[in-house]
Symmetry: C2
Subunit: 260 residues, 2 copies
């Protein structure tokens, strides 16, 4: 009945457009208003020509959605995508349904490189996200969840002095966690995170949400300081997103250097 | 306007019952049909007397919902709850909005005991669930995500022989992972998990979904074998639920022994 009677009625009532094109570009490390500020004016002429430009912001992610209809839909969207990619560059980690963790596993697999994680405040969430990707075992060797100071020392080799002088939530501790994890595992890269997820544990100097993210790579160790003031679970998501993105950008940049 | 005009109309249209009582009991380690089989007949007389009995099944969890209205609502629900608790016993991990991880952290805190995790196929998800609970740091010392065989050996002390003879997904490996994690951390308990999350990696002997869960406790190490055939993310949830429940039951039983 559906095929013989309902479908023809639906087709008559809602004729399909001759042409339709759609592309979603997924960004991170940049807010929705900053995305709009960067692309709205340069894309104004294309919007005049019929491009529909939409934004969707979630924790730690902004989607840019490009839609066009009519005979030139595909060209219009392709042209817009090229502009957006030029303007947002490294902020774009994928398209359509790509996830940050999938993008990262793909990059590592292509480069035949490996990663380990050393997590305090994210409590295993970065490892969980990486291992949600089928095939992760080829590039993800494993990780530590070093919640206690003792675990940071015995598992990762963080120095007693470093903890005493700087505290567990500090640039120095993040750096030693990442370098210890990389040295002990033999992985190409190590990602480390230490911070205060809350709701308690904050101080005037280091409020709830304070986090240090470290990436130990063959050439150097990079440490980022962020303040992610959200509820506990959103804190873990946003922080894990920043950590994964730290490595993704490093890989994208060095792939570009090799290609150039 | 809402308070002055809409609310009185709503109250007139939907008069509140004089009495209303409701209790949800949350179960795990038992399927919906088994729950129904255990409690439907013993509760038939209460249902005759006006008790509404509902079930809600999710991955790894079944809720039993008890509702009553009218002057004897509270007694009816209290009486039903007593029966259900007697019939389902250790399968009940909490009520209302309780989560397994919260119930476990609460039990450990009360007993001033600690736990560590050693995860292969769940990839950090057990640690993530435990650290979602505010205050987890008092009882959760940390964990290992030992995805590669090398990590199982260097981080947890799993023997080369054990891996060679039994494979990474085996009772012997799960046992050594748990015992290694417990010995190296000094925690009261260690939970270990090794299995095949899929979609690939299965064999005729060990199909996708095969998992070994181990609990190393002061008196002994217990190993469970399960086959959890779901998609990758549901596999991780169900397996983490079984692991957390393994420790929860151990704690409930020994608390009972102490009380008895």
């Amino acid at each position: 009945m559906f095929l013989k009677q309902v479908l023809p009625l639906l087709e008559q009532r809602f004729p399909q457009p001759v042409d339709f094109a759609c592309q979603t570009l997924r960004c991170t490390g940049v807010g929705e208003s900053a995305v709009e500020e960067k692309i709205a004016v340069p894309l104004a002429a294309l919007v005049e020509a019929g491009l529909e430009l939409g934004y969707c912001a979630r924790f730690g992610e902004v989607d840019v959605r490009l839609v066009a209809r009519g005979p030139h839909a595909a060209e219009l969207v392709a042209h817009a995508e090229e502009k957006v990619r030029m303007l947002l560059g490294k902020h774009i980690f994928g398209s359509d349904r790509d996830q940050m963790e999938g993008a990262l596993i793909k990059l590592l697999s292509e480069r035949k490189e490996t990663v380990v994680t050393a997590e305090s405040c994210t409590g295993g969430y970065i490892a969980h996200r990486l291992t949600n990707v089928p095939g992760a075992s080829a590039v993800f060797l494993g990780g530590w969840v070093t919640y206690s100071n003792q675990a940071k020392q015995t598992c990762l080799g963080v120095q007693t002095d470093t903890l005493a002088k700087n505290g567990a939530v500090s640039e120095a501790t993040a750096r030693e966690m990442a370098e210890g994890a990389r040295a002990r595992s033999g992985a190409t890269y190590a990602l480390a995170v230490t911070g205060i997820a809350g709701p308690s544990g904050g101080t005037p100097d280091k409020p709830v949400g304070t986090v240090y993210l470290a990436l130990a790579a063959p050439e150097a160790t990079l440490v980022l300081h962020q303040v992610n003031q959200y509820d506990r679970e959103s804190f873990k998501f946003v922080t894990s997103q920043q950590a994964l993105d730290l490595l993704r950008r490093r890989l994208v940049e060095s792939t570009k250097k090799l290609a150039g």
